[in-house]
């Protein structure tokens, strides 16, 4: 039966979608093949892909049929095919909410996440955290702490992101992992650092003093990851906003310093943060506006868009600060991206004088 299906897929030829005519009941029927021994990894992989495709298209699976398919899928853990195993993890995550008794795979996943094979460990951590509820979390807490400080970046990142997801349901358990997250935050890997900083902030965000300390620490030591920088800029500007004090605090200096970062992403984040600060004076705005002006002539549409959109906001409050950019904005009126052109025009209308309207 499967063979036939495969063939039919191929005959459909180019242009048509081999997954289009899939029937949910037929696919679920095929899933019984998972119970056979010996397993055929290639066939099973194809069936799993079909199931995921159906789920992705928004097909509704009833609890009983989902549970049945889920239990059939658990049999595939006997097989050591790498792609097949990873598809199993995906299926677990997709079915975590529609199938019953998903905790049955806990031990298999714990085994994989502590196993030797690095390829499995990250995805296993993420799948495990999806099926874990508050009561079971303590059982795997030890493994999670280990995974967070693991030297393999994918494992560490997976554990950090999963912890973040768990935070909403099990705050009290996850907050005990602060030390591990702290260690991960000094990682050389840019993603690990970003995720660690994110987790740390979310654990501490209600504690203003802890957040301030954290920001001070990282603004001094510096970071490697541009994503982490963006995050830190946001946290810093939030603190600044709450403080409502003068802008001459070290936090503002930090944000201003980021205008000289080598990553455009960070520079833009800093400029936009300064622009959005309440009661910012024209003098403080100037450096931010001038980097935005530079971005206006960038070859990347997204950068031009970002720049002109931010300038548009500046123009609402401080039209005079933007006047210097008028020439650049005029060039953007003919931009091939209509959104950019529109934004440029509205910005000019706010800043323009009679002389520039004529042009």
């Amino acid at each position: 039966m499967i063979k036939k299906f495969d063939k039919k897929d191929e005959e459909l030829g180019s242009g048509s979608n081999p997954y289009q005519q899939l029937e949910k009941s037929a696919v679920l029927q095929e899933a019984r093949l998972f119970n056979e021994t010996p397993l055929n990894p290639r066939k099973c992989l194809h069936i799993l892909t079909k199931i995921l495709y159906l789920l992705n298209q928004g097909e509704h699976f009833g609890t009983t049929e989902a549970t049945e398919a889920f239990f059939a899928m658990t049999k595939l853990f006997q097989c050591n095919d790498q792609t097949l195993r990873r598809m199993c993890y995906l299926t677990i995550k997709e079915m975590a909410n529609i199938s019953e008794d998903v905790i049955i795979v806990t031990s298999s996943l714990t085994k994989d996440m502590t196993g030797k094979d690095d390829v499995y460990r990250g995805p296993a951590v993420r799948a495990l955290c999806r099926i874990t509820d508050m009561t079971m979390l303590q059982g795997i807490e030890r493994y999670m702490k280990q995974a967070i400080v693991d030297k393999v970046a994918s494992v560490s990142s997976s554990a950090l992101v999963s912890s973040l997801h768990l935070l909403s349901t099990s705050y009290d358990v996850v907050k005990r992992w602060v030390n591990e997250a702290q260690e991960a935050a000094s990682s050389d890997n840019i993603m690990v650092q970003y995720h660690a900083l994110g987790l740390l902030y979310h654990i501490r965000k209600t504690d203003r003093l802890a957040v301030t300390k954290m920001v001070n620490k990282f603004t001094k030591s510096g970071l490697k990851s541009p994503f982490a920088y963006c995050m830190l800029i946001r946290i810093a500007s939030k603190l600044l906003e709450e403080a409502e004090g003068g802008q001459d605090s070290p936090l503002f200096d930090f944000i201003e310093g980021c205008l000289r970062n080598k990553h455009e992403m960070v520079v833009y984040e800093a400029a936009s943060a300064i622009v959005h600060l309440p009661n910012c004076t024209a003098r403080e705005l100037a450096p931010a506006v001038s980097v935005l002006q530079l971005f206006c002539s960038s070859s990347k549409p997204a950068l031009r868009f970002a720049a002109v959109r931010t300038l548009n906001k500046v123009a609402m409050k401080h039209p005079s600060a933007v006047t210097a950019c008028n020439l650049d904005l005029e060039n953007l009126i003919t931009d091939s991206n209509r959104s950019i052109a529109t934004l440029a025009i509205t910005t000019l209308l706010k800043t323009g004088s009679e002389s520039s309207v004529d042009r």
Partner: protein
């Protein structure tokens, strides 16, 4: 008054989807719940598609969300984020997805090859 400073968060991407020439969903993943039901999601995708296809504008502000996109042969790739989001971060996600797929499929990223390697695509997005 509008929200001045975006709440710092790691949740940057609201949705990723890949749509074919006819505006049909090949793949979609929602990470947030602005469009909880499938029906709403489809309507949203159709809407975005209608407003963006046949243009090569790369970025737009639609339904209050920042949409960065890229088209290739018969496919459209979208990454959706909040309108307060750093656009460059979204572009980084889009490029990463597209480049990974190009590398994995080892040839032109088009609908047929994509569908033939659906499992790889699922894994890549994951």
């Amino acid at each position: 008054m509008e929200v001045l400073v975006l709440e710092p968060t790691l949740y940057t991407v609201k949705a990723i989807f890949i749509i074919d020439n006819d505006g049909e969903r090949i793949l979609a993943k929602y990470y947030d719940n602005p469009y909880p039901s499938v029906k709403e999601q489809n309507a949203f995708e159709k809407n975005i598609f209608n407003k963006t296809h046949r243009t090569d504008r790369a970025i737009a502000l639609l339904e209050g969300l920042t949409v960065v996109y890229k088209s290739n042969i018969d496919l459209y790739f979208y990454v959706i984020g909040s309108s307060h989001e750093n656009e460059l971060m979204l572009v980084a996600v889009l490029n990463c997805l597209f480049d990974s797929l190009s590398q994995m499929l080892r040839k032109n990223v088009e609908k047929r090859t994509l569908l033939e390697n659906m499992e790889a695509v699922f894994l890549a997005i994951d």
